[in-house]
Subunit: 466 residues, 4 copies
């Protein structure tokens, strides 16, 4: 079949073959072959009988693939050749007609687009499920005070629900990003041929419709040169994995004896081979650890595409392993985050104790002065002076005397002690999006609405028209 | 103003200060201060006179910044402190009221969002201008044949316009990506305070409207922890820079004596310090070279955010230099690509000579056999045999004899020579998106339509309500 | 065995288990277990009989692993637990004594160090073999002129041998880098226990000697926190893969019809599924394509280690897949580069034709003027003028008339034509390291010497003392 | 001076010019020009008077550069041209002779090698100073118990000195890596000319000696194509920055109210614009934050070099900004780490309280059973059971009764309580490199020895022969 007179060197075959990983594209390859065959029949390239024969053969191929009985051969370089080879074994010479008006270049672009599209839809669904778990967690802890941190220093008290909901919105943005990936894979590459279009008046829009695409790529050169959509998936996955890494990092931190804010369930922890007392939050650590791996996949593929002349170059074979591992890593991490959060238990008293640290009411004392007409910048200075005095004398703020207060500002009076004692700091954060309970409830309702209208994107079903 | 008793160590000051780069945020900082002041007046925190005084002071600050007379001081740690400090110098103690109900945490998030939003809009506009140049180039060379390449081997002939238009669609997708960045920066962070919301019933939606945001971030913790939108810009920039690097790589290649397809104008080339004959396509090389730099900015910021506990951490100060350099690099590259393409000249005869290589008609010969009922896979094998025979005997395909043809397939006859000679290979690629001239014209029309409806996104004007 | 009352969640088990990839460490794990057991016996923790029993059991385990009959169980979380579990099945309760004075933390650090050490040695050997192939290639083409390029523009002629030898020196530096990796893995981690050392007076130096280490890590905390040596391997691999990518890129370029400088053998090329005439240099493309993958592994692991508090964190489990894939990718690429270069054929006439381009003698004409006392910068300007005149009038340099020459400089006379005609440009590059043939021969001799003294580093043999 | 008839487009000039950053190479450029001029005189290209004139002119140029009076012009594309242009203004036409037998290609490679070499030496010196600070810190806290952590869970107690010394060994390895960079820059590129060598019998070894190189690069093509040494610096810098990021992360963690292990001095902390009580460990956060930035520089340059055909390509101009920023970032971070550690104060009672957590003696209880003949794996299970019982009943281990102990193992007796109570767990870690005080003292002595013999590498002095 080739113009070559020498067989492939075994080392070259090993470097060149993609069958060990691209076999994963098999269902998409079979589906596109069905759609392509139907189109060829409409175009008059195949007759009805030939079409029936090919479709029957493709059914058999699919069954073999699904049951694991598909006979892969050492010479199968990639999944496209393997499917066509097997099809021809089953249906005879007519199998050789399937590759009419098609090239591996547009074929593989189409398979990868279908795969990406399908898994972007799946990732959206996984994110929705995780968001639901986050919402549920927030609702169960709606009024549990805890310290909010900046610079990992206690800053201002917030409700646990409010903190947890921050992740809801991160995942909301992530879902939006994967919806953009669906948009980025909305146009069918197939029909571009090797790079120039094909010698037949094919109906690409028919194929697009069959496979769930919204349209066709308008330029055949671009269609076979393009892997933007894989980069789009990987970029979205990087940001999503980074969100999960922040969540993981917080769970690790909060599980330390020093914080003691939460405990993952036994089902999500590991012991030590040597230290019998250990309960390690391994799942949280691994959520944290996976972000650089996903980011590296993006970096690698961007590196591969960098400086590549058009159109198809073999370098682009590198797209698949990066994509597959990112897809698998992300799916596992999203499921793990959901499972871990579902089983986690928080320690109300530890959180509350940390939240009642008087120093974190300092902003509120400053705002008290503002209400009495002191410019904020000046009131900030006054309270900083109070803090310094308290810290240096080893006392709490509330242990400063009236006289001491007055030395710092004559706008300070007994309400100072009330602000410190009444623990109303949380409820005073009444601005929209703030931690006051009414605002958190408002936010929860909004989050529920968001989730309710979030239609799960349709997943690929292998053959839309069947 | 601080609770500290020791001055900053000079090394620490050097590490900590961001004023050397974040001064670039000044116009956005002033604009948000205006909007914030107006809101404070509506909320009753400022009276009318105080507002007027602050707005007047902010006008002076802006003028000083624009004219370069703003007196930066060694102690100005960041642009926010510098602006407030200067404002207070100008308007007196009321300047200290401006920071009421605001923290540097939500302030800087807002400045960076405004900057990103503004430059995403600018990048879209730059892309539209480049697309127009690409279209113009395509139109000037609409029917110039050239070889299309796969694996950098001549594959099938195409029109230069068709090749060039591939870049139009890449840039179209890039523009779409930056429009997504606009969506990712549509919600205002300001009003989140340090992290928990503020102690005042502020009207965040009023501020949002003033500054051109579509809404407000629904969670104060998320608002100050989030830099997704910077990652979104950097990811979009990476893919865009990668497209430019492919364009640059092709111009470098085509400018070589061996290809000889084009020549950049003298205005876009460099000489050599030692070799007087050299004309180097430096601009094209630099377009190629910049993609890894932009990709590295994305990798770096994703790395910074990885595993960061909520909410604000000083690490996030690293967002700015990466963003600024990516913005500048991309703007320069887009302008350079446009300028270089505008002045480039192609060599019709070199392109045509390369395109008339008979071997690249091989697919068309195979398709001839398909039309005569030979399955494609079999016809591919027949033609591969012809090619081998021709190459091994040092002849062209058209120098094979009728007898030789018949030995390979009895479906081969005199039309074989016609297919090779008539040079109609380009025009036979009639499928949608193919290189046949009618299809290219259709594509050009479509591209024009796309560009015509592409409304330039509004850029930030410093103060929407002024 | 654990303090937990709930079984692992299956999703957690999937995320947490490393057995699917770390089984590759099995031979190193068995070897270190042998050495550890021997040490325990010397320390009095085991008696002679127990040692014999353990060693016998480890032999059985090794045989099972090598023959593929080792019974992995679903509950085997990692290779360390699997080996110990199986050992205990074979030898009974004494198997449980092997983990005395050892933790998985120092155990895995030791396995990974042994693996890295072993494969660094292997990479050095692979590089030496590739260098030999490069040398042989250079020798076969010692006096074949070709153009040297800067900016992908023909710059000055060189001998093919000289160009090819550039890669010899790149690989020489690569080998040196992997020798540094051997240095970076010279100290044994084992004996650090979980992190603090162990409760027994162990003899770590004895274990080190048994396993081929030069010493022991001086700090137990560092010993279990450290993965520098993996980063070292990955950094060296990145630079090496980048060298291979430059080689691959050149072969791709030179294999184009336009350059036509070389042709890879059929055993190292691929055809096209649709274009019967194609001969694609896929191996060269893949050499080019793999560098970003290896670089991404370095980036990913650096990302994982970034900001990790001491000592062991589960995140560090991510080290292995990056290392393993980098090792495999590099080994395959080095073998492929060697095979591809061995079978490649160059086209002397195409190279020579390109090298005889008169313009690339321009520097030599300038140097002729220098010899006549014209400052170089001025002579450069004179020749640039000549080139402009020739290019604009569509002539070669040698077609300029004496009168025209004199208009540009009175130092120009008939020797101008000699310089252009005599083709002695290559031989005039007589400086050390230059392309003059005598210098290339000198370089070849030096390269042979380098290779001759390059002792292959010892590879790990599983058990030094056996 | 050029063959071009059009001036540079301003956008191109902006993209192309490197003078805004490569002016930093000025001292190296002047030094190499001196050495080159001396060599030209020895080779007979310059006479004594010309040499004197050039050297005098170079002295003036250097003075202008050092005093800031050097007149940069808008047309100065790079530092090499600027220096030569200015030199010629000062000394007249003889300035034009300096570029004889030299090209910008070998010139810039030499400047960058000199710069890298110089800064690698500086980095080693900075690391030695930091190591001394670490040693001093360890000595001041030699017997302060603290918990050692794995998975951020308290694992086993160690001495603070032991933990801190882990960083000593990391920095030791870093210093070694930068010494390898010195080795990687030991050979002089100059004399390679544009790529092929030069038309003069130059004495490259004389130049090498003048500039402090150990030898000359053996292949001119490689000499101008190579940037390995920059990658080497960046890889070493990445690992070093990653170590600093781990240190920073630990200080951030330990500075939290929850850990409360240490407090940075006021001189190394920041306050909050809104929360008057805050003391943020910004320096530590920034140490943590900088590693991805440095890693990105390595990734970017590896990306630039990927797939670049030999020899010099303009893309390589990208090497400098990455290198310069990495050098500056690392120098600042090393100084900051040293300053921060010098001023930090630890809280002995907080550390001790955390270290006395009874659970972290679990390994020691297990080892007690081992000493009584119970295989380790079994004793680990026994103690895990004890821990479960204690945790579930809300008691400490020492509150378990004798009867409960016996239910778990008949090898448990009253010594169980002694092991828990005697707090001798630290001192039992007697293995080499362990935390027992004698071992830590041994380690300190070893560290002192290491530091004492670490000769500071010589720094570049601008002109070795002056």
């Amino acid at each position: 079949m080739s113009r070559f007179s020498q067989p492939q060197d075994p080392i070259f075959a090993q470097l060149n073959a993609s069958i060990s990983f691209d076999r994963r594209l098999a269902p998409y390859d079979v589906a596109q072959s069905r759609a392509h065959a139907r189109m060829l029949e409409r175009a008059g390239v195949l007759d009805e009988e030939e079409l029936a024969s090919l479709l029957g053969g493709l059914d058999s191929v699919q069954e073999e693939l699904e049951s694991g009985s598909f006979p892969f051969l050492p010479d199968d370089e990639d999944i496209h050749m393997a499917v066509e080879r097997r099809l021809t074994e089953i249906v005879g010479a007519v199998g050789g007609k399937l590759h009419t008006a098609r090239s591996r270049n547009d074929q593989v672009a189409t398979d990868v687009a279908l795969f990406t599209r399908d898994h972007a839809a799946r990732t959206v669904a996984d994110l929705r499920a995780l968001q639901a778990a986050v919402l549920e967690l927030a609702e169960r802890h709606i009024d549990w005070p805890m310290p909010g941190y900046t610079h990992l220093q206690r800053a201002q008290p917030i409700y646990l629900a409010h903190h947890v909901l921050a992740y809801f919105w991160m995942f909301e943005r992530d879902a939006r990003r994967f919806e953009h990936v669906l948009e980025a894979t909305a146009l069918l590459p197939l029909g571009a041929g090797a790079l120039a279009g094909v010698n037949f008046a094919t109906d690409r829009r028919f194929v697009a419709e069959q496979l769930g695409f919204e349209g066709v790529m308008p330029n055949s050169v671009d269609a076979v040169s393009n892997r933007d959509f894989v980069l789009d998936y990987l970029a979205a996955a990087t940001t999503c994995a980074t969100h999960l890494s922040r969540l993981g990092a917080e769970i690790v931190l909060w599980s330390s004896e020093e914080f003691g804010f939460c405990e993952v369930s036994d089902a999500w922890a590991s012991g030590s081979s040597i230290m019998p007392q250990k309960k390690n939050p391994d799942a949280a650590e691994l959520l944290r650890a996976k972000a650089p791996r996903v980011a590296a996949h993006f970096a690698a593929l961007a590196g591969v595409m960098h400086g590549l002349p058009l159109t198809y170059n073999k370098d682009m074979q590198e797209d698949k392993e990066h994509l597959f591992d990112a897809v698998d890593t992300l799916a596992l991490c999203l499921a793990a985050a959901r499972g871990m959060l579902t089983g986690i238990s928080f320690r109300q008293e530890r959180l509350a104790a940390a939240a009642s640290d008087e120093l974190i009411a300092a902003t509120d004392v400053a705002d008290l002065l503002v209400r009495r007409g002191v410019p904020f910048r000046q009131s900030h200075g006054v309270v900083a002076g109070l803090v310094r005095e308290a810290v240096q004398s080893g006392r709490k703020l509330s242990e400063l005397t009236r006289e001491e207060l007055e030395r710092h500002s004559d706008a300070l009076d007994g309400e100072f002690y009330e602000v410190l004692s009444q623990r109303s700091w949380l409820e005073s954060k009444v601005s929209e999006g703030g931690t006051a309970l009414a605002r958190v409830r408002e936010q929860l309702a909004y989050a529920h609405d968001k989730l309710a209208v979030a239609a799960a994107p349709a997943r690929f079903n292998g053959d839309q028209s069947a």
